[in-house]
């Protein structure tokens, strides 16, 4: 099982330790950890709730992972994503890739988080002193995902 969506906090470093254990033929391991920030656009954020679409989320991340494996020779992939309520400093998402060489690991990691940001059905609701607000999708995320459309493996 390489995709996990969970309400419980996770320890990103412990996930990386487990992913590395016994790995002797993967020369490159890349990771991205997205962390809940304590501010957004200058406004302090005290907590965040991640709503998602159970069932579709796992299926969609699975499709994104399949696409990454089709493009790069990956030994392993792990995606862990929180749902529910998070506090600043808690990891939201972890993407881990392993390949024989670094380029495939790094590119696949960037691809996975770019696609996940624009395709996985999650929505962030921030808690601020002025109340709750839904985070707007960013055009820059769409642009980041689009750059992979014509990228060769």
């Amino acid at each position: 099982m390489t995709v996990r969506v969970q309400a419980e906090p996770f320890d990103a470093a412990a996930e990386i330790a487990a992913f590395l254990a016994g790995r002797r033929s993967s020369g490159g391991i890349a990771s991205f950890i997205g962390v809940c920030r304590d501010e957004h656009g200058g406004t302090p954020v005290s907590a965040m709730t991640l709503e998602h679409y159970p069932g579709m989320t796992e299926a969609e991340i699975g499709r994104i992972e399949d696409e990454a494996r089709r493009r790069w020779p990956l030994h392993d992939v792990l995606v862990v994503h929180r749902c529910g309520r998070l506090l600043p400093g808690e990891p939201i998402v972890l993407v881990l890739t392993a390949s024989a060489h670094r380029a495939a690991a790094l590119d696949a990691c960037a691809f996975l988080i770019d696609w996940l940001k624009t395709r996985a059905p999650f929505w962030k609701l921030e808690e601020t002193a002025e109340g709750e607000r839904w985070v707007d999708a960013r055009d820059s995320d769409e642009a980041a995902a689009r750059r992979w459309q014509h990228a060769a493996a």
Binding site: G34, L50, E51, H52, Y53, G55, M56, A59, E60, H81, I92, V93, I113, L116, K117, T118, R119, A120, P121, F122, W123, K124, L125, W134, V135, D136, A137, R138
Partner: protein
């Protein structure tokens, strides 16, 4: 019968997370279903009128607006995603 689901602020606007609906036979696409649901939920109709604000999924996979719907399908409407 169809199961319809709403997420994030679209869910809040509609006032419910999901509903079972039984639209007439001529409601054959996601676009038609959305318009039909908009008659019941005016604030959902407002969101639909804005281009690019509502995304569509049938049976937990993204589809285009002209995707055909069949009895028993789960149809979801939601704003652009903001995870990761």
């Amino acid at each position: 019968m169809l199961k319809v689901r709403y997420f994030a602020w679209l869910r809040q606007r509609v006032g419910r997370a999901e509903e079972e609906v039984d639209p007439p036979r001529e409601i054959a696409t996601v676009r038609a279903l959305a318009a039909w649901l908009g008659e019941r939920h005016p604030r959902f109709a407002e969101a639909l009128a804005e281009p690019g604000v509502v995304r569509f999924a049938v049976n937990r996979a993204y589809v285009a607006e002209d995707a055909v719907i069949r009895p028993g399908d789960e149809v979801a409407f939601f704003p652009p995603v903001t995870g990761g």
